[in-house]
Subunit: 536 residues, 2 copies
Amino acid sequence: MAAQSWEDQAQVCRDILAQSIPRQWLLPADKLPSAERTNFLEIPRESGILTETELQITETDATGLVESMAGRTWTAEEVVIAFLKRATIGHQLLNFATEFMVEDALSQARDLDAHFRRTRKVVGPLHGVPISVKEMVSFKDRVTNTGYVSWSSNVASEDALIVRTLRKAGAVFHVRTNLPQTCMHLDCNNNITGRTHNPHNIRLSPGGSSGGESASIGFRCAAIGIGSDIGGSIRLPAAFCGSYGIRPTTLRTPWNGVGLAGEGQEGIRCTLGPLTNSLRDLDLFMRAVTDGKPWDEETSLVPIPWKQLTPSPEFTVGVLWDDMVVHPHPPVQRAMREAVAKMTSAGIAMKDWQPYKHAHGMRIINDLFYPDGAAAQLAALEASGEPWLPLTKEAFTRARKMTAAETWTVNLEREAYRTEYRMLMKEQGVDFILCPAYLGVAAEPNEARYSAYTAIWNILDMPGVVFPTGLKVDPDLDGIETDYKPRSAQDEFEYRAYAPEKFVDAPIGLQLVGNRFCDEETVAASKILETIIRSS
Amino acid sequence: MAAQSWEDQAQVCRDILAQSIPRQWLLPADKLPSAERTNFLEIPRESGILTETELQITETDATGLVESMAGRTWTAEEVVIAFLKRATIGHQLLNFATEFMVEDALSQARDLDAHFRRTRKVVGPLHGVPISVKEMVSFKDRVTNTGYVSWSSNVASEDALIVRTLRKAGAVFHVRTNLPQTCMHLDCNNNITGRTHNPHNIRLSPGGSSGGESASIGFRCAAIGIGSDIGGSIRLPAAFCGSYGIRPTTLRTPWNGVGLAGEGQEGIRCTLGPLTNSLRDLDLFMRAVTDGKPWDEETSLVPIPWKQLTPSPEFTVGVLWDDMVVHPHPPVQRAMREAVAKMTSAGIAMKDWQPYKHAHGMRIINDLFYPDGAAAQLAALEASGEPWLPLTKEAFTRARKMTAAETWTVNLEREAYRTEYRMLMKEQGVDFILCPAYLGVAAEPNEARYSAYTAIWNILDMPGVVFPTGLKVDPDLDGIETDYKPRSAQDEFEYRAYAPEKFVDAPIGLQLVGNRFCDEETVAASKILETIIRSS
């Protein structure tokens, strides 16, 4: 490979990032938080860098922003500047960005404003909405490294299809966001641009792999973020950072132009999806994607338009308290209990849902992640000689190299498991499953390992929506379960990872899962449940 | 494996067939055709076995049959008896069946009649429609051998999902039909129940692999047939036997409960679909399938209901005269020319379509057929020690054994090819492509090898409809092209395969292909073109 050291290769992307930061909006030294401070959410308001209007803009969801631009309250340029300012501070504090695209974003916003002045019409449903994008999604003439040092000079020849689709709908792309080495950790650290922090508590991980996105949306550096999810990589970080997210059914959002080692593997598919600050923005994003008919180019997509449903509480929720492999931490249990109590009062039909062979399901997905023995990932690591981060090694210990025919056996197991799960839900009359998004509220750096609360729905290809309950960790309520007897070494490891003082201020999110292709129904049901769960 | 000889194993299924034949409806010796006779289509009428009403019933399409049963002209029992009689004669002459299901069909028909008498309503859109089914589709407690002797005692524990779905819609299943060894020939012969013949000319193959079905539908032994298609196995035999057929977009019809070696391979998918005697019956079948929501059980299916479209000639047809690899035979060229002349007169927008990298596309599909080096097929053959039929060997010479990761490279080539083809059609404003269904009108036994006129659309996953032009081979018009210079040894082989006297009475079908998931549009456009092309 290159005679260059891995550090020199990584430096290419570090330089791109450093040169792209709009330094005029950085916090001055005297505004930087003290070393003891862990919750950074209020810093934008304290900074003096954003005006009151700009604070208001950045605290408005995408649907609200488009309404305000359509109603001439704000221009697209004002909106993008507000988010650029906040993103600059956010990056300074959280290290979430890999590249700012200031000039492109401003020029795009000005074009939108000119169009609006001329026609009095927005160009599309995402007119002027600033969107942050996970680094693996390509932009023309820019590098896509997907967390590999050896890919530091991998310049894209065109924008990813999702970028082209959403740009036509009016979206403005102003910042690209960090992801972990190999893009296969539930965390966010790599040898190029380093570690991203959680804005609620910077001692915590923002989750991963879309950890740059969850930090971005949690800190409101963008109105919408584009993440990817093959085992929880949208939902888990959204939960860690108090945001909303959906992992849509696969083949509903375009994939062309996304960099991921092992491309062409189809046994378990990665999918793009949004992180947002409201449930209605999930609808907004998904409708904009399908209205753009990306299947006209990426023919493997399924041409199903996004339906706008009126939420109606005529459904039955299965409540999955515990997957019986790894026990959820006390704050997650409390959030589940409070949610169920409020849903009961509100008259939502519910029944307990017994996890159906979740360990079996996880064995299937682990087989399907790396049926080449992770050769694609290893090659991309070895090409630069960059050091392995701790979670990289753990990800690949599960890798079992298979022949083509061996993967077929696993595909069949997957199909049988999907059918069995569906039949069981039908038998029991369960439409949606409410469950944790992760065993805990968040994880410390390098500590998130157990993906099954999200990944089980990937192997089943059931769409999952994550939303914040409005609750945070409360040391008074969320003490250690001293009488709990772990079921296994793995369960014990995760049990020991909890102590309330580690997770101060961490928001508690939950997950609602629906049947394959019932994405719209799952968002609609989430709206009803969120209203109930967040009511006081 | 079994101590039994392969002949003994095969005898199990031969006995099942022999014992299932309703012998009371066999032609007596004096009604059997002479050795010189090749066209058997009129034999039912001459036989004296079917009444005039029964002849009329069997010459009515499925849509017409349901109307007549709903209108009380015919009962379901009358209808199934008529088709059973014709199927018995058909089997005697063409050897198309692997098993009759007389008692089940009669009892099902009587139940339908009882339901109708009670409610005055049909049970569903396929009320009383006799359907023949390719042997690989399982029926509970019956053997599924898929053309392998070693599978002769492979008894199914439940009906295939398509059987359950269509039975709920009122379908009656009366006969199962023959397929070739391995199910991967464009022909119809195996070591169990032997060779099936073409009813138009019994010296010709009915095509394959759904050759039992094309003989069944061509001879009107059933109102609808269920075939399968991974490289042309519905369309090619439908064209050989003068029937209609559609290979739908994959994942629109259920697959659970179908036997095929190499199960779990997903790089190129086989799909079930109908063979019929009218275009409207393609709609009827597909609507009945999707109305049954098979995706509620087989979750990999795409939940898109079948749209009923009103045909409208607002489209542009690309005309693919020749794939530039193997030159079509003179009768096919003539049918194409006459079709285009009539379409021109009728004002259909058309342009010539240049084949786009068809040899490249065929290399991709050939890689994807047997990425295990055909180990699954070889194992199923070796398990009994049955002899290889000539086309089996040829099918497997293309097999290249691959690792999981090697198949990913081919998947990516496939995706790129699909996108390029789609972009080209968009650029040129072409909505559908009219082309041959095979290089010739039919093939002699053991001679059909070149699948590209159908298989290219499998790799592109574009739905294809085959319909008869109403033309037959005419030695006066379809002489050998004496001045043609073959492009290659393959082209020369196929060029030499043609002589008009070999193909006496062979019907000429053509194929219309549409974009992925535009199945309904392709059927609707076929209706318009068929009317134009069959007009005098």
